[in-house]
Subunit: 362 residues, 2 copies
Amino acid sequence: MSKAEALKPPTGRKRQRITIADVAKQAGVATMTASRALNRPEMVSDELRTRVLQAAEELNYIPDRAAGGLASGAGLALPVLVPTLHHSVYVQILEGLEETLPEAGYQLLLGSTEYSREKEEKLVEVFLGWRPSGIILSGIDHSERTTRLLRAAGVPVVEIMDLAEPEQTGLPLDLNIGFSHYRVGEAVVDYLAGCGYRQIASAGTLTELDPRSVRRIQGFQNALRRRGLPHHLIGRSDRPSSLAVGRDLLSGLLAEHPTMDAVFFANDELAAGALFECQRRGIEVPAHLAIMGFSDEEIASHLNPALTTVRIPRREMGRLAADLLLARLGGQLGPQAPIDVGFDIVQRATTRSLPRELQERV
Amino acid sequence: MSKAEALKPPTGRKRQRITIADVAKQAGVATMTASRALNRPEMVSDELRTRVLQAAEELNYIPDRAAGGLASGAGLALPVLVPTLHHSVYVQILEGLEETLPEAGYQLLLGSTEYSREKEEKLVEVFLGWRPSGIILSGIDHSERTTRLLRAAGVPVVEIMDLAEPEQTGLPLDLNIGFSHYRVGEAVVDYLAGCGYRQIASAGTLTELDPRSVRRIQGFQNALRRRGLPHHLIGRSDRPSSLAVGRDLLSGLLAEHPTMDAVFFANDELAAGALFECQRRGIEVPAHLAIMGFSDEEIASHLNPALTTVRIPRREMGRLAADLLLARLGGQLGPQAPIDVGFDIVQRATTRSLPRELQERV
DNA sequence: CTGAAAGCGCTAACAA
DNA sequence: TTGTTAGCGCTTTCAG
């Protein structure tokens, strides 16, 4: 009748989970002792510990995390929501997170929102059911319900890849590490205008698709306006970004604004696509047209000509997010002001070089 | 003293999880009724169901999956192990999986092994602790312990991206969907030799890094041997693949084998890097050198000249894996022979075109 | 240092 | 249709 009876030979038809009770029985100790031997070895005598460990090994015992978490009240899961895995930016942020979090015993649960608040809301709801110790979100724009659920759950939240400004009341939700997309837009205009470009276009995906891209464009347009430059040269696609969309965006822009002399794309992939299209059309870059990307993916430096773009510290953002979260989970960290990790313009060959006297402004 | 006392106002300092008991109390029903109203609505009267649902909404109740799984014995997690997220191949496989699995109530747990069996083993161990309903692995090469743990756990396993051949005894572990890398290697030689190339090199990362790449090279070398062509033109790097490594590989190969006329790279990223290097050096492709990639990522068709490569049905593989797993979990599927999804050579512009009379062989 | 009892939040099984 | 009881596998008390 004993449950442990059928476990030795895996011959039996019925799958019998091996529990810590089985291990304890095999080692001839109490369940609790087995638990301690496994989790707090220093609290158990050498002899018993050895016996337990050996029994566990023999039985291929694997602790049930769900049961453990339930009993201890501890959360073990750490959901990370990113908009997409197609941009290496997010993959690298994940790498930053994975450097420390798994070691600390947390399980990263990955979800991709596809830039949709509704999908984000769904994912948050699902993940909250996994007793998360915390949660990492991309961006600071969430649905009202997402915010409410998160608040109600009372889990630490880290928002990355965007920066809550002081005037945005109620933001951030909790911890926040990122940079100002608005200022990226401004800086790009400063840079391109400094290089002497005057007909500067922006191109990206539909505004609803990415609020951060929208904020970049706001900064971009305001900076143009301040300089008295035209700011109506806008290319938009309703498809998710890809090289093909980059080509199409460029073609459309060229048709509509034949006089434009520079384009700022919402990411390097679009910019690379545009560059390929220029190659095919025989448009000389940067002599006839300047192209600028955003995020500095690996391809940027390998393109011919190499792509001028904006570098953002993704891995660092991931690492920092992990560190902050760990500190907060350890109870060593209270409320915290948003952390700005900044960005840099990487000048390469798809733009004319900036005159000497302006170099340091970048 | 009642536990539910402190829950209404979130003012209290102490975080009080809202449980189904709280919902039941608020709705004035038994816990079990609340559970049924939430999970099997049809078993509860309209009135009570409405009351329960409303209470749940008001309290922002989120069911605890760990507790639910524990009680019902059901597994809710579905780990997916991929070697890396840097190749879009794996991202697309994930998309294929995500089309159906989450809807069916499963939570995908993502782990990346970085092409390491040790890391894979660790991940399997961790994930097995999450009561997985099944598990999806990349490739058919696993450590002895991984195999043992998986067998002991008795969970359905799907191995993707490679195909177990009949002569490989003990393989696959369970379900298997993929294609033969060995035959890819052969087909590439058939194709390149058919185009008239004679000094054909292969280039990729170190053999330990990717057993599937090794198998491709085996097929490649055997096919060369059969044709009496030299098969010692091999470029290897110990760094994970990237555009930069592709360039270096090409440079190294060029220095060692000045007479080579074609190179087959282990993936499109390496091939793209090599192509960029050719552009920089002014080497004409395919006039002076043919370049061929593997996996047909988006960039392949946009490069100038566009890259000849091997297309593999990744999204389909993901979808199929999901379907099979679902069928197995539903008990409608017994042991199953490996499923070959095949591959195609996509002829583009980095290789001379194949003579007419050979076209259909590809 | 070791053990026994209680219970985490939920649902299967049974009873009403 | 609804409620009660027991227990999933583990760890937290609290005793020895």
